[in-house]
Amino acid sequence: MLPSLSASDANKGPHLTGCRSSEQVTFRCWWSSGTFQNLSEPGALRIFYQTKALSSDWYECPDYTQTVKNECYFNKTFTRIWTSYCIQLRSVPQNTTYDEACFTVENIVYPDPPVGLNWTLLNVSRSGLHFDVLVRWTPPPSADVKTGWMSLVYQLQYRVKNNTYWEMQELESGTQQSIYGLHTDKEYEVRVRCKMSAFNNFGEFSDSVFLQVAQIPSKESTFPMALVLSFILIGVVILLIFIVISQQQRLMVIFLPPIPAPKIKGIDPELLKNGKLDQLDSLLSSHDMYKPDFYHEDPWVEFIQLDIDDPADKKNSDTQHLLGLSHSGSSHNLNLKNDDDSGRASCYDPEIPDPEDLASLLPNHSEQGEHQHSLVSRSSSANPDFQQESEVVETPIQTQPSWVNMDFYAQVSDFTPAGEVMLSPGQLNTSPEKKKKEEENEKKIQFQLVCDGAYTSETTARQFSADVPSSPGPEQEYQAFPTQGVEGNLWNGDYLVSVNDSQTPYLLLEPPPAPVLPPISDYTVAEPPSKSSFLAAYGLSAQPR
């Protein structure tokens, strides 16, 4: 039976209201006469107990407490732990038993409350809003914890004063516990109770202790500090903006260095515009252009070649395409500002179209399929290639027509009906107007390529090489040569790789062995469909080695 001390069952007849022990040495039992008023006088009801350990006899209560009504006290001689007791409430005259309860003493132990509750401040948070305390107490004096007769565990509870809800802490076997995170300027109430460690009967709560920590008024000082800091920060940001704006030009140079437009030292871009080719030729020829490093940077820039398979169709289509280039150029907004800054074409110019646009302008747009066309291409960077290839590749120059002995700067003058491109000077076959048109076209393409070459636009190269119609698939677009009988020479996007067995793959990035250059012009002709001439333009042999 779990003893209870509630008086709520006063409607019943006489009954035992509970038995308790506080120190596991003695215990008491209480009863109530209930609604039987005639039995409320002392002595009307009596307690009898039985300990089955000793005998089956019932003995009367050894001690009826004088001071407390309806209490029976069993002192230490009558208390045996680990022993089962049965208590009966009897009315002797009528010889009736009104109530009975059985228990063992250790199961009715409700320890006294701890005493000596006090607290010490552990610390206060930096913001001054929270604090921690350490609460200490001593075990109840009645409980013999020193000899280990009773092992107690404690439970601490706290709440904000006048609050209804108590915060509970974990059970603690020691005699102190910390509370963390209390709020300053709030008053707290703390209390402790205990129970035997292996049992579930909590004793009464101790007297509450009140604690409070005054709030340190440091909060107000932090507020303006935050304001000051934010102002300083804003000021610094504004200052930075001013610096950036005022030194914009310089910063632009530092952080976004302009990629130099292709300029040739000693050559005035104006010369190009005026078309004084003779002077240009003299300048260029005297100028040492064959610096291998220069070419290695943008090797592929110079390479724009597209092969033409069908010479028959090419005749009109090429010319038209070239002419149409200018049309489509305008439609595609291809104005490279020839009038103003040709040669100084700024590659930051947003008007420069995408490589896709550029490719679409090419006469041999992939959609068109069969048509191929030739373009003027600069092969200045091809020279280093040729140097290496020269060992294994027969110098095709000797087999070439007169153009190999051309000057540095050759400009396309016209397309012959046969499809060949005529280069000026000295081969002017057309009207100046047409020549000028093609001149412009050439410049346009050239500058476009140059500009694109400033950025490693491999896609551009791909686009160009994609014009080879006979090559199916992207991978083979670089193998335009093989499809035309050139084996082992692959476009590899950035450099020309020869996979001939007898040759080692050539990487443009390697420095050429010796700058022995055949006298070819910087700007070579993109030969129309003639295989050998085309290959020869790049110093490659048409025959596999």
Binding site: V25, W82, F103, E106, K146, T147, G148, W149, S151
Partner: protein, 164 residues
């Protein structure tokens, strides 16, 4: 199914038949505090050894229930293991404190301690029996704890542990 609350009364009244009753153990504080170290240690050892087999039996019966909580089963197993360790510890204490050599043995008792061999009683009866067994076990472990705490007190400070 487990014992509903009103049946606790029945169990308490039948709680006098714990099997460890035949050891005469003093039951008041003053008497206990007068027991010698040797007697305390031997009593603890005896209690520990007397509970090893019933706990094993309890594990098997608990397994048989359909809806026994897993916590109960695991705890019973855990307690069995701890009891073995406790026995070893007490043997060591006896050797060190009393200079006696004792073999740790867990089969002191005859097997008639578990009177339910061969039969499978019905569930309610079995549950009540198990509950009773656990109650007795709790009492005996409380005895072990009290004795060992007393011994510990005596080891640390003999004077303060004498009966007042």
């Amino acid at each position: 199914m487990f014992v509903p609350y009103p049946l606790h009364v029945l169990i308490n009244q039948a709680g006098n038949t714990c099997h460890s009753k035949h050891i005469p153990i003093p039951t008041s504080k003053s008497e206990i505090q007068q027991i010698s170290d040797s007697w305390l240690l031997h009593s603890v050892l005896f209690l520990v050894q007397s509970w090893m087999e019933p706990l094993l039996y309890l594990q098997t019966t608990l397994d048989r229930y359909d809806d026994a909580p897993n916590a109960l089963l695991s705890k019973t197993k855990w307690v069995s293991d701890k009891l073995l360790s406790l026995e070893q510890g007490v043997v060591v204490l006896i050797r060190k404190m009393l200079d006696e050599g004792i073999m740790a043995s867990s089969t002191i008792f005859d097997h008639t301690q578990s009177p339910y061999d061969g039969q499978f009683p019905e569930v309610l009866e079995s549950v009540i029996r198990d509950y009773h067994l656990l109650t007795c076990f709790k009492k005996d472990t409380h005895k072990m704890e009290t004795f060992l705490k007393l011994l510990k007190c005596r080891q640390s400070n003999k004077l303060s542990c004498l009966p007042q």
